[in-house]
Symmetry: C2
Subunit: 173 residues, 2 copies
Amino acid sequence: MASVRIREAKEGDCGDILRLIRVKTVGRKPGGTSRVRKTLGSALRADGFGENPFYHCLVAEILPAPGELLGPCVVGYGIYYFIYSTWKGRTIYLEDIYVMPEYRGQGIGSKIIKKVAEVALDKGCSQFRLAVLDWNQRAMDLYKALGAQDLTEAEGWHFFCFQGEAMRKLAGK
Amino acid sequence: MASVRIREAKEGDCGDILRLIRVKTVGRKPGGTSRVRKTLGSALRADGFGENPFYHCLVAEILPAPGELLGPCVVGYGIYYFIYSTWKGRTIYLEDIYVMPEYRGQGIGSKIIKKVAEVALDKGCSQFRLAVLDWNQRAMDLYKALGAQDLTEAEGWHFFCFQGEAMRKLAGK
C-alpha cells in the first residue's frame, strides 16, 4: 500500500484541489453533472489564502515509492473552518471531504478526519461538526464508526437555507 | 406596539446576551434546565470582540417611548458567522436566534433574520444557512414562510458531531 501524507494545503495546491472538486461534482450522484462555477479557481485562492481566510484545507497526497521519479500526487482533500456554538464555544466544521475513488478503502478519508480532530483540539475546539447526505450510507457508517453522533436522527436537527432570489427578497434588495 | 431596533452588538451588550442565553437554555425544551457553562460570559467577550472574532451578534432592543426615562432594553439576539461552501463560496450561518417570549408575535425574529440576510448580501455571501430542531414547528414555519428551504427534508442532509471523549480518541489524544 502506498504511503499517504495528510498536510495543510498551500496556495500552490489550488489547482489540484480544483481538479478534485471538478471530479467530485461530476461523480457526486448517479447522473449528476458538474455545477462548479467558472470563477472557483480564483475564489479558492482568494478565500483560502488571504490574511483572514474563509476556509482551511487539508490535502492527502500519495508519496512516491523509493526510486520513483514522480513527485507526490494529491488524491483527496478536506475543507474545514471554525464556527461557534453558543453552548460549546469554538467548534470546527468539516465542510467538504473527498478522496478519489481509485484511492478509497485505504483509510485516507479517516486520516483526513483524524487530522481535523487534531486541529480542533490544538485550537481549543470542543466540537467537530459535519453534515452528510442520507444516500451516502458509506460515509454515514464511517463517521459513526469513528465516534460521531447523527444529531438529525438523535435530536431532530434540520438544515435550512435561503439563497438566490429568496435571500435578496428577504434582505429587501 | 413598541419600536424595535436591530443593531450589531457591542462588547457592552455581553451581559444582556448572557442573560438571554440563560433564559433561553432554561426554557429551551419542556422540562429542560440551563446547561450554560460558568465561563460563558468571559468566552462571549473574548470570542466575539477580539481582533478576529469567532462570531458576530445582532441584538434587538425595544426603544423607550417619547418621554420614558428608561433606556433601550435588549429582548433578543442573533448569533451568526461566516462559513464557506465549496460550491457556493462565502456563506452566512445563523447559529442561534432568540426573542424573549414576552416580545414574540411582533415580528422581532423576522427582523433579525432579515438583517442577517442584509449582512449576507453586503458581504458577498450567496447563501444563508441555519439549523432548527424539528420539534420547533413555529420556527420551521417562520423560516419557510420567509423563503428558506428545508434541506434535510428536500435533500436528506444529516448533522453529525464528534465531541468529548470521541473527539479526543479520534485525534489520538
